[in-house]
Symmetry: C2
Subunit: 333 residues, 2 copies
Amino acid sequence: MARPNRQVLLREIPTGKLEQSHFDVRDGECGDPGDGEVLVKTRLLSIDAANRAWMQGATYRSALSGGDVMAGGGLAEVIESRADTLAPGDIVNAETGWQEYAVVPARQATKIDVKGALTNYLSVLGVTGLTAYLGLTEIGQPKPGETLLVSAAAGATGNVAGQVGRLLGCRVVGVVGSDDKGRILTERLGFDAYVNYKGGNLHKDLKAACPDGIDVFFDNTGGDILGAALFRMNQHGRIVCCGVVSQYDTSNPEPGPRGVPGLLITKRIRMEGFIVFDLFNRRDEALERLSGWVDRGDLVVLEDVFEGLDSAPHALVDLLAGGNVGKRMVRVS
Amino acid sequence: MARPNRQVLLREIPTGKLEQSHFDVRDGECGDPGDGEVLVKTRLLSIDAANRAWMQGATYRSALSGGDVMAGGGLAEVIESRADTLAPGDIVNAETGWQEYAVVPARQATKIDVKGALTNYLSVLGVTGLTAYLGLTEIGQPKPGETLLVSAAAGATGNVAGQVGRLLGCRVVGVVGSDDKGRILTERLGFDAYVNYKGGNLHKDLKAACPDGIDVFFDNTGGDILGAALFRMNQHGRIVCCGVVSQYDTSNPEPGPRGVPGLLITKRIRMEGFIVFDLFNRRDEALERLSGWVDRGDLVVLEDVFEGLDSAPHALVDLLAGGNVGKRMVRVS
């Protein structure tokens, strides 16, 4: 039985900045699940800079093509199951695409044991929170008293990375694109300082905010911010390469920072990229610590929810322009 | 008693390429050692790209100034000692500067127990050999069967890094600036293949020489070669940042490679700089393995000796132009 299904399509691959006009919204259909599949109803879509990166070519997943249902995922409710492992009513993490209903293989749908707000399972207890905790601890290895710099620090991953650094005893400095965001960090999330990279004095402001240099840099942006941070890194510093949001929304990425590899050598810096799934052997530990901190009120949950599937294109375009504060998502149902 | 002392001075800090005209040779004098000092006679000067890097500003040592005796060091013989630890006739590793005689603090002169050719203690059993062995094993962590790429592979450090990789079971590919150098690698040193980066098809040639990708890149050059190698790195690859010879001979270094940090993330690459002295806790192990390989003929010693102190400026300028094959040094006495 074909079921009416609201869908957002990627009309064409953008060559420059992504705009809402690159998307189409249509009333489509959804088929029935086959053996081993489930029919799910999308509840919350995760909106991430990675959605844009997928349009640039193969990353850790295959590239998107124009005309496809926009790739993405989030939390969904099982409506009909043809697999033993899942039953109607289960909440799963799945790649639904940007649509109301989807048929997905049961083994690609991870059941979530929801204990609190559903949104938390896309933010601090979801991939972004795990990325922050596992990337920071595994690659960054911060020690109490060290200075941790976080870029895109008001973003979904950055705000958690900074707060985890604070809870592990670091002095934490966030790089953001506005003073409003900066004040959220220092006034609500316990960051020690912030730098507004649009302030026109990135090098000077970074020096003022990090008088003892930078020991760990949790980098979500790359580009000029990475370039400036390299000059402030301390010897034996570590750079956690988590994202390159400065370079996603273009088809002509900038050259890399001048300090690579020269400053890596003179300062003995380790710079390392990771994908959170590689670190999932420590997933349970991470969730236990994160949920403990949330339950005790030590870790502030910062979420940014848009309402309705049709708002998804705007939610992504605006995120790429730096509009989000915390984890952005779209409530579909 | 002032002693006649031939000296090479750095006349001025170069703003572009280093030339012989940036140096002056003069007949100067050398004073007497004070308490805790030794008077040494320079035997062999080590000629390294790092000599040029010191002119660019503070690195792991302070920057040079115009008018100074050119900084550098190598192996020297103690002539007169005012320290308990050293006696006339001892051979030491010391920072003599580019001159026939020098007075140096005894605690900065490391006594060498010479067992074979003196030159070996600047090449495979000296800092360059240790840099190759320790950097490759500690940072690169090569596994048998993996592909190791080495840049400046006919150079002092590169040729040893490649041979060590071969002895550890890797498939080894060298990047060089001429086919003559490449043939030395494959015909004399046991490299599996080479790429001439001046051949005009760096990306294509690298792909052909590394059909299974690159697992470990021991990088002495940075710049375009690093940029090209990043695209061929395998997942979880490691880049040993050992030198940036492509950027030393200029006062206007190029931007960094475009793949940083994007490719570090999608490929989960670790990129790490080091200074060999940080790894000296493993110095004895390194020397034991290196000298064992040399004694058994498994590791070919590649040396490139200029005669006479006055040849030092030419030896350095020519090294920066890629003229050396193996470890370049100047025999002073």
